[in-house]
Symmetry: C2
Subunit: 565 residues, 2 copies
Amino acid sequence: MIKDMKWWGWGDPAFVFPMDEKPLLWPFIQKTLGLADDCPKTPPVERNAVRLPQQKLNADFMRAINGFLKATQIATDDEQRLIHTYGKSFPDLFRVRRGIVDNAPDMVLFPESHADVEKIVPAAKQFGVRLVPFGGGTNIVGGVEHLDHSAMRVTLDMRRMNRVLSIDRESWTATIEAGVPGPKLEEDLQALGYSLGHMPDSFEFATLGGWLATRSAGMQSDQYGKIEDMVVAMKMVSPAGTIETKLTPKSSAGPDIDQIICGSEGTLGVITEAVMKVHPVPEVKDYHGVLFPDFESGAAAIHEAISRNASPTMFRLQDIAETGLAFSMKKPSEGLSGFVQAQMKKYLKAKGYATPCLMMVGFEGEPDYASAMRRKVLPMMKKHRGFHLGNSVGKTFQKNKFAVPYLRDILMNHGCMVDVAETAAVWSKLMPLYRAARDRIQAQFKEEGYPGYIGCHISHSYVDGASLYFTFAARQIKGKELEQYYRFKRLITETFMQNGGTLSHHHAVGYEHRPWMEREVTRPGLTLLRGLKKTLDPDGIMNPGKLIPHEGANPDAPTPSTTVP
Amino acid sequence: MIKDMKWWGWGDPAFVFPMDEKPLLWPFIQKTLGLADDCPKTPPVERNAVRLPQQKLNADFMRAINGFLKATQIATDDEQRLIHTYGKSFPDLFRVRRGIVDNAPDMVLFPESHADVEKIVPAAKQFGVRLVPFGGGTNIVGGVEHLDHSAMRVTLDMRRMNRVLSIDRESWTATIEAGVPGPKLEEDLQALGYSLGHMPDSFEFATLGGWLATRSAGMQSDQYGKIEDMVVAMKMVSPAGTIETKLTPKSSAGPDIDQIICGSEGTLGVITEAVMKVHPVPEVKDYHGVLFPDFESGAAAIHEAISRNASPTMFRLQDIAETGLAFSMKKPSEGLSGFVQAQMKKYLKAKGYATPCLMMVGFEGEPDYASAMRRKVLPMMKKHRGFHLGNSVGKTFQKNKFAVPYLRDILMNHGCMVDVAETAAVWSKLMPLYRAARDRIQAQFKEEGYPGYIGCHISHSYVDGASLYFTFAARQIKGKELEQYYRFKRLITETFMQNGGTLSHHHAVGYEHRPWMEREVTRPGLTLLRGLKKTLDPDGIMNPGKLIPHEGANPDAPTPSTTVP
């Protein structure tokens, strides 16, 4: 039922990234990052070399929970503590691969119902125990790490709360427990004929509650919205009691409490259930590739389409660098089809597509709707010099979409730093922001004297703007790996903030983005967030140290991870 | 620049409702409400009979504002105090028509810039002065009335802050001062080639800031969204400082502060500016009438269309009673066209449309888009037995849409109670809720022994549900007019709450809906709202007594207006 990821990296322990099927990929990486054939191997430490810190157990709390939880819902073993120590950011993996797990929880609890959570939270409040809600553990901004060493640290693994509780076929809404991971959620809904349609990169492991707590965005968000647009009503157990928001399509009865809970990252309470908008399983899922001569043309094509009501299910436009990486993952064709491809490549090069940008565009829904949308959208792509590659690229994309995150583990095994950073901005600021971030990181590689990779794609588009998703990688500087990483992380985040980007479009704040929160929401905005926290969690037991900077905090203070040796 | 409404009623003092052009209307009303030809006339008192209460002026505050405001920005005269005493609910008009204005402000200020507001709010905080922000004064839930008699009461008339500050033609966003009323907003935007597309019944008088503070919904919300869906960023001056939210299409940097400000009804601060999504002025505005044999068929047609991506700019479906009222406003045709209409009526009656329900459906945008949507939507209407009346009815609707609210003044001149109540629910609850509310009010008329009117329309539709907008009217019970009114108001609100409706879909809470807030948001939800208030307005100077019930308040306690003799 609960599919844990590798303790030292991303994803299914049994999955092996099919490097052999992609003979061009490793040479591409070697060239881009300047990796010699004999580059240093940096595997994770052996599992038995990892020493978990001594447990701090609160006897009163233990007694209380033993009164209402079964023994199978309580774990204090090192295996569970290790698996629940970190999310999956680069600093998370860097530390865990070295066996650094100082912030491991003392205990992991597995609530099986809303009622369980309604007992756990008051007990934690009563005995001053710190609670961190944990979904799939895919967070990459430090969202699930315990930071408070002053008391017993308990992680709530929500994944036994994974049922679709009810479906309203007339209103297209489903009431769902928050701990359900993506695959089971879709499986259960699709057995009823429905789909949520939320497929972020974290899909295979992350949970509904984690998505809601962090304002996640799925690949098909252009059609179905971000997760906060799909929510109709919620239950959150806070230390001040259970908030249950109104089941209504819209309301004007005060501030929107759903939109306070979404993005609260476990700092206000534990999301236990949500009523979500669902839709019948799309009869058609039709994904196409389109090639653009440059990133700007592709972005202009998206912008025109989306503002003229030609809004497909997905637009995903990769810049030159990311397209190069994507093409390196292709299996080279042989024989006739290889010949045809080579000719095509020559033709495209002559036509101005020497360093092209690849767009995936998807159409889902009823057959009439999907094909009408395709007939509307593709000509607009052509108008902006989009060269239609057909839907075979689309099929490859659909097949591979969840394999890419595994690549990072291979790179980390070869002494490389890899991470992602994302933002969003209005259209008038988008391309300048893109160029500023790309150029700034490239300049930094140059300044530090080693080659590096920075690529970007647009993955979520709106009438008023879009998001930019960057991936950056380089060889690690031995002995200064985290300093090096944070230099880049800060540079790119600073560049976002200085060029009109938001601090995060869908990865949330955790502690990694906390130093920029004051600039994001203004100081009185921070006062407001602190007021929310004080109101619902006056004792500060819920996910301490996340989202909201402490009052009087030095915005330039290092984040916890930089203090790790 | 500032177009005040009648002090004793709705709208432009110069406008006369064209009763003479509608010879069927008054007989229809007389019959429906049982009004005799010689029914009592109940005109408002003469203006000079209205005695404003004695002013309570805080000398320190006066000195402070005289230091930074011009004399023309400060009004203490009775004319301004009277005009700013109330909104336009039935109890508001009932009281002002009798000259009851105990809650008049002591002073009205006219800020001309964000900077003015940033000086006024701290001065009010310093000297304990109560502030009520005032836009068009169209609120019908008590939103602009001063309730706190313990200190000087100042109303901020925002309507001099009425400029479009900038437009971003690439991102389709405009930065707009919050005090701009609908007509000037559209005029200024349209001069630039853009439109906001927000046209609620209050359009002619209400302001952007008022709409945002109350989560207003315009007639074209199916295409452009409710006002809270159109907002990109905001500035709000709170007693704890100015919150400026991030200009970004979407973010995951914490709870959505825009969605906290929207619906805060002036209780947290004064909205001074907003960045709004705008769109090019639609080339086509094509409105059609469709007749349904009953309300359920029309609702099913809307539901199918909107869930199959056939979502026009507006669906507005009137029930039998409201359609009867609408038809009574038609000028009877004479000669040949009268003959044709009579034949048509016979034909429709024979086909099952004896007591029909009228739907208005609108298509706006680029010509291709609007006509494609029309070709998609109208056949779906037909499938649900919709009889297409063509677009002449649409033109009549467009012409008359802002005249109807004037009718209430005529009824109040003839001893009648008239008011509206609205809600929203998911589709599975919508028709049962509709029938429950209609039947409950009809049963009450019967129980009280006089005829009455209750009509309803669906005006805002979503994939997961829709809103219901009721109008009810009856003869007043002399000497017990407010008790009678509140009996009906409570009955219908209770029926909403017991049948899965929200407390309000777009009229907000004010003090009229406050007693139900705990049931709407749960007790911990109320704790959260109180925490917001305490954080941003610890001294309680901002619009006291609105939105959030006092801690320990008796939910059944009478609202302020029932205590008026």
